[in-house]
Symmetry: C2
Subunit: 279 residues, 2 copies
């Protein structure tokens, strides 16, 4: 038996277009679910903004999603997950999932040597949210973790992805520069703590092989980890949609033409229909 809640959509919120990698993973693994995606393109990037501003913007974005029939909210933005998850969980009774806790739990589960790296935006790294979530997943304290968790901002990968330089010599050299301190710190598991980064997974693996003699490093994609937790959550609450082709709709707060065009790189398919909204 299905009711309105089964058929309600999963709401996905991001500061822009990067969260489409998360939407793509949900669409791939849970194709029967309706998706409503909101990218706050008028106010991106969140990665260089203060915590208070990120909370304010995130609450307004979730308010927009809640105007539609929605059964769960996914914060597909690491910066918003870092700063606003707690506030958003108070803001609505619906389940709210961020990308950081699933990514941290996945890293804790797969690490062999216990040396975990996290790459993300300036704001995500500065927030310390991944360090806290990894300590939590390992059942220890942040102090006890010591230098076993190494974090670094990789700000250039976002504009490189949006430029479409997914396999460009400039990107290769940037990744080489960014990977060096992680290899030096001998980390064995790297969390890609920004939704733009998964498009670079093949290149990161190539650079590890070519420039760092195949240094073994498991890449953790938070979108995959989150989707696994979302599937479990919907099943546990008896909220899975019936078998059908889920519908997708996309909202953005500015420049819908660019959103649709650049978004296909991240969604891996047509981003349509796109609607413009003002928050």
């Amino acid at each position: 038996m299905t009711n309105a809640m089964h058929k309600a959509a999963v709401g996905v919120f991001d500061s822009g277009i990067g969260g489409l990698t998360v939407a793509a993973e949900i669409a791939r693994r849970l194709p029967e679910e309706d998706l409503i995606y909101l990218g706050d393109t008028a106010r991106l990037p969140y990665g260089t903004k203060s915590a208070a501003t990120v909370v304010r913007y995130s609450e307004r974005a979730v308010d927009l999603l809640l105007r539609y029939p929605v059964k769960a909210v996914v914060i597909a933005c690491n910066t918003a997950s870092a700063h606003a998850l707690e506030a958003l969980r108070k803001h609505t009774d619906l389940p709210v999932l961020g990308v950081i806790e699933p990514g941290a739990r996945a890293a804790a589960a797969v690490t062999r040597g216990g040396r975990i790296g996290v790459a993300g935006t300036e704001a995500t790294i500065r927030s310390g949210a991944y360090q806290a979530a990894i300590a939590n997943a390992l059942g220890t304290s942040r102090e006890a973790l010591g230098d076993r968790v190494v974090t670094r901002p990789w700000p250039l990968l976002v504009p490189l992805a949006e430029e479409g330089w997914v396999d460009h010599p400039v990107t290769r050299l940037t990744i080489e520069t960014y990977l060096a301190p992680f290899v030096e710190a001998d980390i064995d598991t790297l969390v890609l703590g920004c939704t733009h980064y998964p498009v670079f997974k093949p290149l990161i693996r190539q650079v590890l092989d070519d420039r760092f003699r195949g240094h073994p490093m498991t890449l953790v994609d938070s979108a995959e980890a989150l989707t696994t937790e979302l599937a479990t959550l919907l099943a546990e609450h008896d909220l899975r949609a019936p078998a059908r082709d889920g519908r997708r709709s996309f909202f953005c707060t500015d420049a819908p033409e660019r959103f649709g065009r650049v978004g296909t790189v991240f969604f891996g398919g047509d981003v349509a229909p796109v609607f413009s909204v003002d928050l």
Copy 2:
């Protein structure tokens, strides 16, 4: 004889910190002038936003500057100059200067072969404002210009500047990639149509020498051209400040700590005091 208007400040507005290169040039050439700088860091970058949004944000920013004793307004942002200059000139009776017209006039004055290139953000290039201003400065029409003006977006230079990679191999390779189509089109004068770009002038010259056999290319820095026009305008209207050490104050709409820290790269000196404001 000096009155209140002589002593009033020059208001400088930018979407973020890049406009500090313009403020720096004004401070260097007109050290007696007070400067009030506003960087709209909460809503940057403007370069990927729609024209209507840029106009709305710019009007709010100028309203803030007008709360202070100001005698002229400088739009130290190419995107805002491209989209909002006309609207802002209707918005206030004070003289308003953008960076595009002075840059275009300077390029028209220095070109030898009449082949001019313009590099800028996506929005600046898409607006066609430089093409129109250069045609105007050359006393011709855009159609008659044909392929003598070549324009290209260089979006990666902004994050590279903010990462502090002013002389990094990644930046060198990016500039090489970005310069190639201009060299191929045999342009002799290149307008640096984004306020972040002047910090890369030495590297651009090096890359032209090392990789393009010293292809002759005059670099036009819009900040220099604008400051020359500002000095003339203040003198003509009898608005120059008396001999003194001008005071500088800086406002931004988010993340003042980062503004002060990253801003020193662009201002070439201490950015202080910094005040937070909400628009």
